[in-house]
C-alpha cells in the first residue's frame, strides 16, 4: 500500500514510515477496511512497516473470525 504513494515498487519502500506516508497509509486502510478508531497508541505502533503489519493483523483478526 505504501508503494502506491509516489508510485514505487514495493521492494523500494523502506522500513521507517514518515508522517506523510502514515497519512497516506491510513487513507488506504480506510478505503480497504473502513474507518478505524485512531488513537495515539495505535499511531505510535505504525511508525514502521512491521508495526503496521501487526496493527493490520489485529484489525483483521476479529473480522476474519
Amino acid at each position: 500500500m505504501l508503494a502506491t504513494y509516489g508510485d514505487r515498487d514495493p521492494g523500494q519502500v523502506p522500513e521507517a514510515i514518515d508522517s506523510m506516508e502514515l497519512a497516506w497509509l491510513l487513507h488506504q486502510i480506510a478505503q480497504r477496511y473502513g474507518d478505524i478508531d485512531l488513537d495515539d497508541d495505535l499511531l505510535a505502533r505504525m511508525s514502521t512497516v512491521t508495526g503496521v503489519v501487526e496493527v493490520l493483523a489485529d484489525l483483521k483478526g476479529p473480522v476474519a473470525g
Partner: protein
C-alpha cells in the same frame, strides 16, 4: 493591530473556539510571565514550540513586549537547537514542558517552560528570525522586521480570492513556517478570519474539520495534502468549501484535476519565500502554471533566475551579494517573467534545495552532515522522490552507527529516506562526484534507513559498483551521444511519471504524441539543460511540443560539450 476586533469573534479554533477576548486574556497572561522572566523591549526570545495555542500566545506576547522572536521548528534535534541558540543568543528560550504528543496532529496542547539563556538583547530591530536549511554551514538566518510582516499582510488583503472577514481558513500548513504563520495566522487575525487547525491530519480528520462549521472555508496546505485529499474516492459534499490554496511546489496536473473534479472547488497556488512571504499567486487556477506577482512587489528574471524586489537584506550576518543586492532578492528559482502579462513561471531550483512535504531542505546540508561523520568517507545526497544518500564507509564502520549519529544531528524531515552504502562513489572524467539520481539508482545495494534486519548484511557485502555506460563521459561519437540523450529523455519521462510505452523516435512531445503538458515540457527541458550543460531559448521551449523525440535529440547533440556539465 492583530488583536483588535470584537470580543466575541472566534479568531482561532484548535481544541475549541478561542474568542478575541479570550486570546487577549491569554496573551496578557504570557506577557506577564515573559516580562517576569526578564524579557523587555529590545530583548530576545527563542520559541521552540509545536503548532499550538501556546505558540500563538507566546509569539504575540513577545511582540507586545517589543522583543525579537526567533522561531525554531520543534522537530529539530537538540544538537540542531543547541547550534541555533549559540548562533542566535536569545535571552529566554520557551519550550514545551508538557506536550500532548502523538502522530499526525495538527496542533498540540502545550504547557510551556521558560528558561533563561546566556544571550543578549536583540542586535537588530527585526521582529522575527527564522532559520533555513543552508548550503554553507548549518543554516541561514532570515530576519524580517515589522514593516515587512505588515506589508505582507497588506499584500494578502489586496489579492483577489483570499478569504475575507467572517470566513474561515482551515490550515494544514504549519503556523511556525511562513505560509501558515503569515498567510494563516497573522492575516487571519488581522482580517477577522477564523483560523482552524484540524486535530488529526488525516484525510478524514481534515474533511470532518471542514464539515464542522458552515462558514465559507478555504483550505490552506501543501501539495502533499492535495494528493491525500484527491485520493478520497467519495468525499462528502462540502458546500462551505470555497477552495484550496497550496504553497510550495506545483501540484501535478493529474492530481490537481482529480481534486478539482472530486471537490468541485478551485485549487490555487501561492509562490513565496521565508525571506519575504508571498510573492505571487494563482488562486483561481487561471494562470497555471504561472503566478501573478502580488501587489506591491516586483519580480524580474536575470540570467535565468527569478529576483524579487526587497528593500532591505533579509539576512543577518555577512552579506552575500549572490543572495541579496541593491534591493533585489535572489530566489534561487529558475524561471521566466512574461514581458507582456507580468506572469511568472517557476521552472525549478537552481541550487540544491528541495521541498519535503512543504518544508525546505538543502541537500548540501544533509550531505555535509553525513560526510562529517567519522564513519563516512564520502557522501552524495540527491532527491529521488525522497532524500536519498549514497555513502562510502570507513573500514569496519557500521551503517547503524551512521544512522544513529544522523538521527542526533538532523531533524527527521531532513534525514535521508535511505542510506545506500556503496564501495565507490561514481565520478566524472574531471573527478567531480556524479549527482545524477538516475545514474546513482543503478549502482550498489541499499540499506533501509531504519535498523531493519537486512540492513547490516547489505552494507557489509557492498562491493565496488560497476559504473554503467551512462557514467562514462568520453563519448565523442555523434550516434552514441544521440542515444545517450534519447535514453536520458526516456528515463526523465519515466521519472516524471509519464509512461514511455509506445514512445519512439517519431513521437512528438505535445498533445499529438506523448501529451506532455507545458509544465512537464519545461521540466524536461530543464533536466536536459542540467544534465548536458545546454541552454534552451524561450522560443525553443515553446517549440518543444511540436518536436519529435528524434528531432529534439538532434538539436541537442551538437550543443553538448565533450565533458559533462558537472
Amino acid at each position: 493591530m492583530l488583536l483588535a476586533g470584537p470580543d466575541s469573534d472566534i479568531c482561532l479554533y484548535l481544541a475549541g473556539p478561542v474568542s478575541r477576548a479570550e486570546l487577549r486574556r491569554l496573551v496578557a497572561q504570557r506577557h506577564r510571565a515573559l516580562a517576569g522572566a526578564g524579557l523587555g523591549r529590545g530583548g530576545s526570545v527563542a520559541l521552540c514550540l509545536a503548532p499550538s495555542l501556546a505558540f500563538v500566545t507566546n509569539l504575540l506576547a513577545s511582540w507586545q513586549i517589543g522583543a525579537q522572536v526567533s522561531l525554531l521548528d520543534y522537530r529539530l534535534t537538540s544538537h540542531e537547537v543547541d547550534g541555533a541558540l549559540q548562533r542566535l543568543l536569545p535571552q529566554l528560550v520557551v519550550t514545551a514542558a508538557h506536550s500532548s504528543g502523538g502522530q499526525l496532529r495538527g496542533f498540540f496542547e502545550i504547557t510551556e517552560r521558560v528558561e533563561v539563556y546566556p544571550g543578549r538583547p536583540a542586535a537588530t530591530g527585526h521582529a522575527v528570525i527564522q532559520l533555513s536549511s543552508g548550503s554553507t554551514g548549518p543554516f541561514k538566518v532570515i530576519a524580517r522586521d515589522a514593516a515587512s510582516l505588515v506589508d505582507e499582510v497588506k499584500r494578502y488583503t489586496m489579492i483577489d480570492g483570499v478569504p475575507r472577514g467572517g470566513e474561515r481558513i482551515v490550515s494544514l500548513a504549519s503556523m511556525v513556517h511562513v505560509l501558515g504563520l503569515v498567510g494563516g495566522l497573522l492575516y487571519g487575525l488581522h482580517a477577522g478570519v477564523n483560523l482552524t487547525i484540524p486535530a488529526r491530519m488525516t484525510a478524514e480528520g481534515v474533511l470532518s474539520t471542514v464539515a464542522a462549521a458552515d462558514l465559507p472555508t478555504t483550505l490552506l496546505g501543501v501539495p502533499f495534502h492535495i494528493e491525500l485529499l484527491a485520493a478520497v474516492d467519495r468525499p462528502p459534499t462540502l458546500p462551505q468549501l470555497t477552495g484550496m490554496t497550496t504553497g510550495g511546489e506545483l501540484v501535478r496536473a493529474d492530481v490537481r484535476d482529480r481534486f478539482v473534479q472530486r471537490y468541485g472547488v478551485r485549487l490555487g497556488n501561492m509562490y513565496g519565500m521565508t525571506e519575504v512571504g508571498v510573492i505571487g499567486t494563482d488562486l483561481f487556477g487561471t494562470h497555471r502554471p504561472a503566478v501573478m506577482p502580488a501587489p506591491g512587489l516586483a519580480v524580474r528574471e536575470r540570467d535565468g533566475e527569478l529576483q524579487v524586489s526587497v528593500p532591505v537584506s533579509p539576512y543577518l550576518g555577512d552579506q552575500d551579494p549572490t543572495r541579496w543586492a541593491d534591493g533585489w532578492l535572489h530566489t534561487r528559482d529558475a524561471g521566466t517573467v512574461d514581458a507582456r502579462t507580468g506572469l511568472v513561471r517557476i521552472l525549478g531550483r537552481r541550487d540544491s534545495q528541495v521541498s519535503v512535504g512543504g518544508l525546505k531542505v538543502d541537500l548540501t546540508e544533509v550531505e555535509h552532515a553525513l560526510a562529517g561523520l567519522p564513519e563516512v568517507t564520502g557522501a552524495v545526497v540527491v532527491f529521488d522522490r525522497a532524500i536519498e544518500a549514497y555513502v562510502t564507509l570507513a573500514d569496519g564502520a557500521q551503517v547503524s552507527a551512521v544512522e544513529q549519529e544522523t538521527a542526533t544531528r538532523l531533524a527527521a524531515y531532513k534525514r535521508p529516506r535511505r542510506l545506500h552504502v556503496v564501495g565507490q562513489l561514481p565520478r566524472t572524467a574531471t573527478g567531480k562526484l556524479v549527482r545524477d539520481r538516475v545514474v546513482l539508482r543503478d549502482i550498489g545495494p541499499s540499506a533501509p534507513a531504519a535498523g531493519a534486519d537486512a540492513g547490516d548484511e547489505a552494507a557489509e557485502t557492498a562491493g565496488a559498483p560497476v559504473p554503467s555506460r551512462k557514467v562514462t563521459p568520453t563519448m565523442t561519437d555523434e550516434a552514441s551521444r544521440f542515444e545517450e540523450i534519447r535514453q536520458f529523455v526516456l528515463d526523465a519521462l519515466t521519472d516524471m511519471n509519464y509512461s514511455t510505452d509506445g514512445i519512439d523516435n517519431d513521437t512528438t512531445f505535445g498533445p499529438a504524441g506523448a501529451d506532455l503538458e507545458s509544465l512537464a515540457l519545461a521540466e524536461l527541458a530543464v533536466r536536459v539543460e542540467d544534465r548536458f550543460g545546454v541552454k534552451f531559448g524561450e522560443d525553443e521551449g515553446e517549440a518543444l511540443a511540436g518536436m519529435t523525440v528524434a528531432e529534439f535529440c538532434h538539436t541537442v547533440v551538437p550543443r553538448v560539450h565533450t565533458a559533462p556539465s558537472q
